[in-house]
């Protein structure tokens, strides 16, 4: 039993990264029907900005956080401007292909510039250490990461449900033309959505760096897929659902690996896809009711 609990606790850190990314994903997905495959690169750039600020230039940690957020928002808006805005309205598949193209461009560019090796990510001191509960080990960092994610998640759910901005977002996702006639500035709301999504990407990038202590140029590939699946499972546009299913996926794949023979550990990526196919075949609308749409 303690083995089981240990596995669940170990998955919390990874689950937080997935949950934040899934929340960002589900917002762009819900509002303009865009499956932003380049979101993993926004996340990666966020982590790299923090890495450069903290490890390379030896600046304090809060500057790193600021750099990460600015980097993520700049790259997110740049991708939106260059790759998505000109093809908006020409169907989900076109948008998906351009986002795939943008993802491959940014990823290869950063592999070219920074090479694809693991880079040490410096974290503040207060943050390491463990608590011992009987024979269960709890890392301080997983608790901190979990709390940050939950706080952000509550703020986000409040934003989408109760504020004027959130109502405008939901209006656009129902029908952008009618919202426009009712006085919603669609263009502005879409940009704000992208800023929020990139913000979440940047935070997730820092959390990844704090969790694993290293960053690399191709790190966006796996979380982006997991987060996409979490957003589908959570119901498209449902922020709460996305966060919960991010945790479900992370805990599920952690347990999947824990109870598998050790030579099959490499099969970890299969778990999320199996869940994805099961959900799409038996309950295509997702586990939770779609919130935005």
């Amino acid at each position: 039993m303690s083995y089981f609990i240990q596995q669940v606790l170990n998955a919390l850190g990874w689950g937080s990264v997935i949950a934040l990314l899934a929340a960002g994903y589900t917002m762009t997905f819900g509002i303009i029907g865009l499956v932003n495959f380049a979101y993993g690169e926004v996340f990666m750039i966020g982590a790299f900005a923090a890495y450069f600020a903290v490890t390379v230039f030896n600046l304090p940690f809060w500057v790193g956080i600021l750099a990460s957020l600015i980097g993520a928002i700049v790259i997110g808006l740049a991708i939106e401007r260059i790759a998505f805005k000109p093809v908006r309205g020409s169907g989900m598949i076109t948008l998906f292909i351009t986002s795939l193209g943008a993802s491959i461009i940014v990823k290869n560019l950063s592999i070219m510039l920074f090479d694809d090796s693991l880079k040490n990510f410096k974290v503040p001191n207060f943050y390491s250490g463990v608590y011992l509960l009987g024979d269960i080990i709890v890392f301080k960092k997983s608790i901190l990461i979990f709390l940050i994610t939950i706080t952000l998640g509550i703020m986000l759910v409040y934003l989408v449900k109760n504020t004027k901005l959130g109502i405008a977002m939901r209006g656009i996702s129902y029908d952008s033309k009618i919202s426009e006639t009712l006085g919603v500035n669609t263009e502005r709301i879409i940009i704000i959505t992208f800023i929020i999504a990139s913000f979440l990407g940047g935070i997730a990038g820092i959390l990844w760096g704090m969790l694993f202590g290293s960053v690399k140029a191709s790190m966006g590939a796996i979380p982006v897929v997991d987060a996409f699946i979490a957003s589908v499972i959570g119901g498209v546009g449902n922020v709460f659902g996305a966060i919960v299913s991010g945790y479900i996926l992370a805990i599920g794949s952690s347990l999947f690996i824990a109870y598998l023979p050790s030579e099959l550990v490499g099969l970890k990526p299969l778990f999320v896809w199996v869940v994805f196919f099961i959900i799409l075949i038996f309950k295509p609308s997702g586990l939770f009711r779609a919130n935005i749409k």
Binding site: V35, I82, A83, P86, V87, S90, G91, M92, I93, T94, F96, I97, T98, L100, G101, A102, I104, I105, N108, L109, I111, M112, V225, F228, V232, L264, G266, L267, P269, L270, W273, F276, F277, L280, I281, P284
Partner: protein, 341 residues
């Protein structure tokens, strides 16, 4: 009678021209240009067979890498020298596979059949999922196949990959199959089956109302596409001479998708043009990745440069000319019209 003679004469002329051209090309081309020409042919095969799904049936698949992987591995077991297969300790294959080495044609057929079976698995998501979700599902298929190939070292030798293939691929195999594929797809486009494919792509429900059995024609389309995709992959493996699980990953499929998007979805001649552009583009720019010195400046190594440029090309095409170069039209339209009437 007179009419038939004219057609037979035309066929003989075309076949004669084909043999003459490729005989001359085989004599003239060598080294880099020969490889480029062979890659062009293989890309034509891959692009046209992907176009059957993505352009005609209207299901956007990016999971053909999984099909290629199955076809290529099955053929690899059959054509690898027995000494190499026995030399790998990890490999636990049945004895009869370890002890045989067969020529290319049966390997192509057997690999193609296994690829077709894999392709028909892709019909399952195509029954339930529409549009983008199918796209995501095929992406998953691709990742699942690559992961399995990496993690079953008893069958695939894991991430180490297989080497020591006999260099079977030559102009006759590649371009013979490519021209055969071009011919049958152009014929198919005018036939009942091809029109059924295209009408499914235009409007699935309407096609069903017109009496087209959706499941049957989806299976046909995925079968044809998967068969030729795996043949293309097998030829590619016997040209490059090594095979590892990440060979047909998303980047490879992305290149093929770029070809059909540039050329025009649903157009056979568009696929050929797209394959020509992309092959020339990637293989002539490949030396730039290694770094070189230009007028005294040392240009550093830039791995992945061609992929980046390909991505930029794809986005520019999608913004400026979303239907691609050819749209759904064909160059050979007039040439073939006569034969069918």
């Amino acid at each position: 009678m007179k009419f038939e003679k004219k057609i037979i004469g035309k066929y003989i002329l075309v076949i004669g021209l084909f043999f003459l051209t490729f005989y001359l090309l085989e004599k003239i081309l060598s080294g880099f240009w020969l490889t480029l020409f062979l890659l062009f042919g293989i890309n034509v095969i891959l692009a046209i067979s992907l176009n059957i799904i993505n352009g005609w049936i209207g299901f956007f698949s990016i999971g053909h890498g999984g099909i290629m992987l199955v076809g290529a591995y099955v053929a690899a077991f059959l054509t690898l020298p027995t000494s190499f297969k026995k030399g790998i300790i990890n490999l636990h294959l049945p004895a009869f596979i370890l002890n045989i080495q067969i020529p290319l044609l049966p390997a192509l057929l057997i690999g193609g059949i296994f690829g077709t079976i894999t392709g028909i698995i892709l019909v399952l998501p195509a029954i339930r999922l529409r549009g983008f979700y199918f796209c995501a599902g095929t992406l998953g298929f691709n990742i699942i196949m690559t992961t399995l190939a990496e993690n079953l070292p008893n069958i695939t030798n894991g991430a180490m990959g297989l080497r020591g293939f006999p260099a079977y691929t030559n102009i006759w195999w590649v371009w013979g199959i490519a021209i055969f594929l071009i011919y049958i797809t152009l014929m198919l486009k005018k036939s009942y089956i091809g029109r059924a494919f295209i009408s499914i792509g235009k409007d699935q429900c309407l096609a069903e109302h017109m009496g087209i059995n959706l499941l049957k024609y989806k299976i046909y389309a995925f079968g044809i596409s998967a068969f030729f995709t795996s043949i293309g992959a097998i030829l590619w493996v016997h040209l490059i001479l090594n095979l590892f699980p990440a060979a047909f990953s998303l980047t490879f499929v992305f290149t093929v998708v770029t070809m059909i998007v540039i050329g025009g979805m649903g157009s056979v001649s568009g696929s050929i043009i797209g394959a020509a552009i992309v092959t020339l583009f990637t293989d002539t720019l490949a030396p730039l990745e290694e770094g070189f010195s230009f007028l005294g400046f040392q240009v550093p190594q830039a791995l992945g440069l061609t992929t980046i440029l390909l991505g930029i090309l794809l986005i520019v095409v999608l913004i400026k000319k979303p239907e691609g170069i050819m749209g759904e039209r064909e160059i050979f339209h007039k040439l073939f019209k006569e034969k069918i009437n």
